[in-house]
Symmetry: C2
Subunit: 193 residues, 2 copies
DNA sequence: ACACTTGCCTAAAAGCTTTAGGCAAGTGCA
DNA sequence: TGCACTTGCCTAAAGCTTTTAGGCAAGTGT
């Protein structure tokens, strides 16, 4: 055995993300990761504080990757084009990397959350809304709605909620994007009680 | 110690649900439950197949409770009234019982899923759509959209995504419901490419 | 009163987490 | 080149969770 394998927090995080995609995020464990590197379990504790720390790092990696993809997809697009592009980033990422996507759903403590790419995500959604005519408080409402739909749809679809029933989930997805576009172009005023 | 505590699968499931709400669904463990009943760990294995079985039972309980509340809330309501009532059932349940709500998100194997209250949930959402003018394929699209928004919003809100930023999440929630109502009253035709 | 069922017990193996302390492979500096 | 120093991975060990196997005695039915 090579005396030094070259462990680093970054390599552990990447390997953990791969393991999550292959076996599911719940299977990501310090032991499993050590096994994967052919190394004793205790060795990982020099690079990672504990199991929770490892999972948090994977979550932060996933959020960064998602934000990077989102930024790339948004470049040069506006309006419905931009809306669909960002939405597809989330959906495609979740399908390609289900374990990482699950990791991104991890509840982060406030410290980690502040240092995460979470802000970039809401900024990207807000950027999309520049193509529509919404004033300030409504923009925030719309950001939250879009976030809810993207996350909710992807998460239900990944859980198998839409499989085995017609029509096809792809068709619903395009119709949902049509509907959101229509809604944003015609955002309703607050309803008086 | 009383020689027989009176364990049953039902009591274990209920106690597990309470534990989930108090400590979080990840803390629900056969050991913790045994501790709570003042009983040896191995004793639980006569009533519950294994850890996964226990969690599945809690998930099924939560789905049933949610469906019951939904049915009660929907009785005698239609249109936007019904929409808001069902939506609030999800949101309120998640706030009152965060652990149970997390349990309801558990990936069920197809067997358990078929025996779950999942069908009642989509039927209730479909019932709401009777107050709007949608024909068949669009109804399914709308059911999926509503499910996504309800689940997505509640889950982001529970994760703290909307706290510590103005405006208040309650306000966004009512505006989101207004928006969904408007959207359903004005459901867009498929956009031709 | 009897056998029978069954509820909870003890025992034990196996896996994951985490801490403490050690040795030797690399690194820096004279 | 040789030395001290850092640090990467190791062994050891304790604690907790899961799960199976087998046992005794509290209830149940006849």
């Amino acid at each position: 055995m090579a005396p030094r394998v070259g462990l680093t927090p970054e390599r552990l995080t990447r390997a953990g993300a791969e393991l999550a995609d292959e076996a599911g995020f719940e299977e990501v464990t310090v032991s499993a990761l050590a096994r994967r590197f052919g190394v004793q379990v205790a060795s990982l504790y020099s690079h990672v504080k504990n199991s929770h720390d490892l999972k948090t790092r994977i979550a932060l990696l996933a959020l960064e990757e998602l934000a990077d993809r989102g930024a790339a997809a948004l470049a040069g697009r506006a309006g419905k084009d931009a809306l669909a592009a960002l939405a597809n980033v989330y959906r495609d990422y979740a399908r390609e990397h289900p374990g990482r996507y699950a990791a991104a759903q991890l509840r982060l403590d406030p410290a980690a959350a502040a240092a995460s790419a979470g802000v970039r995500h809401s900024q990207m959604t807000r950027a999309i809304l520049r193509g529509y005519d919404l004033t300030e408080p409504d923009q925030t409402h719309a950001v939250r709605l879009l976030g809810s739909v993207f996350h909710g749809y992807v998460s239900l679809e990944l859980g198998g909620g839409f499989s085995h029933s017609a029509p096809d989930s792809d068709e619903t997805w395009t119709r949902v994007l049509d509907a959101l576009d229509a809604l944003l172009r015609n955002w309703p005023a607050p309803r008086l009680p």
